[in-house]
């Protein structure tokens, strides 16, 4: 099972600042193992963020996004908003975590 994310959301003047750290190797498909064999690409491909059930961001990643991806964005919202972050990777693994805007 995929490891949990860290989601932080802080409200300031009606704007919620969301910072997300995801635990994922984001294997590029460019690296070779010790035996010289190419390690196949494996990466988070799609990402969705909702606040109180409504989409606030959708993202698509390629294998060029860094290992343990970081994402920061802002939306119009309020303290107490329930933020749900979900991702799916190229092998179909998925993970969903939540946070409350403070």
């Amino acid at each position: 099972m995929a490891d949990p994310m860290r989601v932080r959301a802080t409200e300031n003047g009606g704007i919620v600042d969301v910072k997300i750290l995801m635990k994922h190797d984001m294997e590029s498909g460019q690296r070779k193992d010790a035996a010289g064999k190419t390690i196949p690409a494996w990466f988070i491909s799609t990402l969705n963020v909702k606040a109180n059930g409504k989409d606030v961001l959708n993202g698509q990643f390629g294998p060029a996004v860094s290992k343990d991806p970081f994402l920061n964005f802002k939306y119009k919202g309020a303290k107490g908003d329930k933020i749900v972050v979900s991702w799916v990777d190229s092998k179909g693994d998925k993970r969903t975590d939540e946070a409350t805007a403070s």
Binding site: M26, N48, V56, Q60, G62, L71
Partner: protein, 150 residues
């Protein structure tokens, strides 16, 4: 009502429930844009995104370092005074140009920051789609060799 039709209905009801509960999301339903992420050149990706040859715009800012201490983690952010619907980050000299693409719903600021990998020093492109039209900005990021190198 035949058996098959009934189970389809049942499934869609469950899917609807899961979606409203946030268990499955648009991202999961949304198809990953394979063609765009496998595009080898900037022009190829521009075409697949429907961006044609985007104009350079002073309204789009790419927030990236001049020098990255390590190509494995290069912080890149896009901001724009335009009302962005989509944003994309492209690296000219990466094996596949498109690094990430974002869809910005109404109510979300025209701002996103993430971190990308760069194989070598290259131009990095920040693209913004606003009012149905793509515009862009470009910045060179130098990737240095670091550490003892062993």
């Amino acid at each position: 009502m035949n058996q098959q039709r009934r189970s389809v209905l049942k499934y869609s009801a469950i899917f609807g429930l899961m979606a409203s509960a946030g268990l499955i999301s648009v991202a999961q339903a949304q198809e990953w844009n394979k063609a765009a992420f496998e595009g080898k050149s900037l022009d190829e990706v521009f075409k697949i995104l429907g961006a044609g040859s985007p104009d350079k715009s002073g309204a789009v800012t790419l927030n990236a370092p001049d020098i990255a201490e390590n190509g494995a983690v290069v912080p890149v952010g896009i901001t724009t005074s335009l009302k962005a619907e989509q944003m994309a980050i492209l690296v000219e000299k990466n094996p596949s140009s498109l690094a990430a693409q974002f869809f910005i719903p109404a109510g979300t600021e025209s701002f996103v920051t993430t971190r990308i990998k760069m194989g070598q020093t290259s131009n990095v492109y920040g693209l913004v789609k606003a009012d149905g039209k793509w515009s862009m900005t470009v910045k060179e990021v130098k990737v240095t060799l670091g550490g003892c190198g062993g």
